[in-house]
């Protein structure tokens, strides 16, 4: 069973990592803690669930990319609109305004989802059912879980490549380090801010889309992942990709083994880890102090 427990832990970690990825980019590059991140996640979830329902019966090789790309695109588009109408006024404003505007956005995006998709849950398990299961050392294990882990790694690798190897990434990191200096250097701030926010939003949408084959899309579905993503960001360190990955894996594995051997401690132990790391290393695992 040990192998299965490990895989379960990594599967949970994959979702944590995917969810925190976008939050981390927006926080790192723009310095804005996006409380509406969970709502963008929900937008992705609802869009994907709706499309999967629409394409029911079709081949999953077509359904999966179509639904996921649409989720990314629409969440990114929502992000684009939000950035260009509201958030662009926020960079020079005090922290309390930045936080509250995303809090306000959260509220109306939640209601907008309800207006567009109705309030009822949308079930969309076709991709997971369609992929089937495989045998891992005598245990049945759904292939979709492996697919999620793969996608999370892939998304992480793309972001790493973007940030470390491309000109775009270097400019983004320059903004992250010193906004004023980057501006003085002539980096196109407006375009890059829009790009970073839309990218973060798109990643939130992808995380939401990845989750709906395993669990129905419901109103308020983004609230819990938002909190989990915060914890990952705090544990891993602000804006640190490595930290987020390691933080997710630690949290995922701990959770899986705790449930197997001492279930009562599932939640308290997670928080205990977070608090311990914070007391011992206030800047998080890989954060700069």
């Amino acid at each position: 069973m040990g192998l299965i427990y490990t895989l379960n832990g990594l599967y949970f970690a994959a979702f944590l990592f995917l969810t925190s990825l976008g939050l981390n980019i927006i926080l790192g590059v723009m310095g804005i803690l996006n409380l509406a991140h969970g709502s963008l996640y929900a937008v992705g979830g609802f869009v994907a669930a709706f499309l999967i329902g629409l394409m029911a019966g079709g081949p999953i090789a077509l359904t999966i990319p179509a639904a996921f790309l649409a989720a990314i695109a629409i969440a990114a588009a929502v992000g684009f609109v939000l950035e260009t109408t509201l958030l662009k006024h926020m960079y020079s404003r005090a922290l309390e305004y930045q936080l509250l505007i995303t809090f306000g956005i959260l509220m109306f995006v939640e209601d907008a989802i309800k207006l567009v998709f109705g309030g009822e849950s949308i079930y969309a398990s076709a991709p997971m059912d369609g992929m089937g299961a495989m045998n891992i050392m005598g245990h049945t294990y759904p292939k979709y879980y492996l697919f999620v882990m793969l996608m999370a790694l892939l998304a992480g690798a793309c972001i790493w490549w973007l940030m470390a190897k491309t000109r775009l990434g270097i400019m983004l990191r320059a903004i992250e380090m010193d906004r004023d200096m980057a501006h003085a250097m002539g980096i196109p701030m407006r375009k890059l801010s829009i790009f970073a926010f839309a990218l973060g939003a798109g990643l939130a949408g992808l995380a939401g889309a990845m989750v709906v084959p395993t669990t129905p899309a419901v109103l308020g579905m983004g609230m819990d992942p938002l909190i989990m993503a915060f914890i990952v960001v705090v544990v891993g360190g602000l804006g640190s990709l490595k930290g987020a990955l390691l933080g997710s894996v630690i949290v995922g594995l701990t959770r899986s083994f705790t449930i197997a051997y001492y279930a009562e401690m599932e939640m308290p132990l997670l928080f205990l880890i977070a608090v311990t790391i914070l007391v011992a290393r206030p800047q998080g695992l890989f954060g700069q102090s």
Partner: protein, 325 residues
């Protein structure tokens, strides 16, 4: 004495107090309960503003200290019903919220800016998780019922609702007034000035001998104590407490209140707290799309009226005032 009466601020406070005391003559009992809740939230908002306005850090997890106070009252009643009185409840709420905010604050004050906000948020969610998890001890998500208290040995021989709109209202006004004056004294004290110095320039404050983190921590604890006091006062009006008050959404609402009233003016958060209490209730009582109303109001506030209601009024006043030339 004469001098104090001439002070326009003191006179305005006196008028406000008289108006509050006379309010039951003019409005129905239901509004008295709403104002009562607004005043309790006002104490909480003043506490938050000590951090936001005077210390320059934004707590996005103040629900935790509010919950500490409320659960102190609830657990006191659950486990020591024979000692359940208003004065002991207030004391318990203050002690517990101060202890919790001292512990949480110790972790948080090492940071500023957005990291401070995230940390306070994460810690409030930790408390939420504990309150819900400790089902056998706290009643979990079902919460705890708060009955009518005795008041310094006096038992009120009346039903709950007449008690709330009668004697209890005046008790709340009393506690509220004391809280407003105490906070005013704190922000005008040398300690308050030192806080503002740490806010304006941390390095310079450190240079002139202010121990920045220590001061920030004290402010955090005082702020937590105010949240606990507000919670204790509120818990009797509410009559039932559940762990939701420790969730980050409520913490966000506290910040909302403070900004709605305007945090640059000392009394702003109180105005905001009372207005928010009404806005929140009427939005939910009017439509199932209440989030749209609350969200749109908040966005408008941030974009158009960053100084909040009181800030708006004061800039309007400056604009209209005939200029001395």
């Amino acid at each position: 004495m004469k001098y104090y009466l001439l002070n326009p601020k003191a006179a305005a406070y006196l008028v406000a107090l008289i108006l509050l005391l006379l309010l039951p003559q003019f409005v129905s009992g239901y509004h008295i309960t709403q104002v009562q809740i607004g005043l309790a939230m006002g104490i909480l908002a003043l506490g938050l503003n000590l951090l936001l306005r005077y210390t320059g850090v934004l707590s996005f997890g103040h629900g935790a200290y509010f919950a500490s106070g409320a659960y102190a009252v609830g657990l006191l009643n659950m486990y020591f019903p024979e000692h359940f009185s208003f004065e002991l409840s207030i004391l318990a709420a203050l002690v517990v919220s101060v202890i919790v905010s001292a512990i949480f604050g110790f972790v948080c004050v090492r940071h500023t800016k957005v990291f401070f906000s995230i940390l306070t948020l994460a810690l409030s969610m930790l408390l939420f998780a504990i309150l819900e998890k400790a089902y056998h001890f706290t009643g979990g998500s079902d919460g705890i019922r708060i009955p009518m208290p005795t008041f310094f040995g006096h038992e009120f021989e009346m039903r709950k609702y007449p008690f709330l709109i009668g004697p209890y209202y005046y008790i709340v006004v009393g506690v509220f007034s004391a809280a407003v004056l105490t906070m005013l004294a704190i922000v005008n004290s040398p300690f308050g000035k030192a806080l503002q110095a740490t806010r304006d320039n941390e390095v310079r404050a450190e240079m002139i001998g202010i121990r920045v983190k220590r001061h920030r921590w004290y402010a955090f604890v005082i702020s937590g104590g105010f949240a606990g006091l507000g919670a204790a006062v509120w818990s009797f009006s509410a009559g039932h407490i559940t762990p939701e008050i420790s969730m980050w959404v409520f913490s966000g609402e506290i910040v909302y209140m403070v900004l709605l009233g305007g945090f640059m003016i000392y009394e702003g958060p109180i105005v905001g707290a009372i207005l928010f209490t009404y806005l929140n209730l009427y939005a939910k009582a009017t439509t199932e799309y209440w989030m749209l109303i609350m969200g749109a109001t908040l966005v408008t506030l941030v974009m158009v009226l960053p100084g909040g209601i009181t800030g708006g009024i004061s800039s309007l006043y400056t604009l209209l005032k005939p200029k001395k030339s």
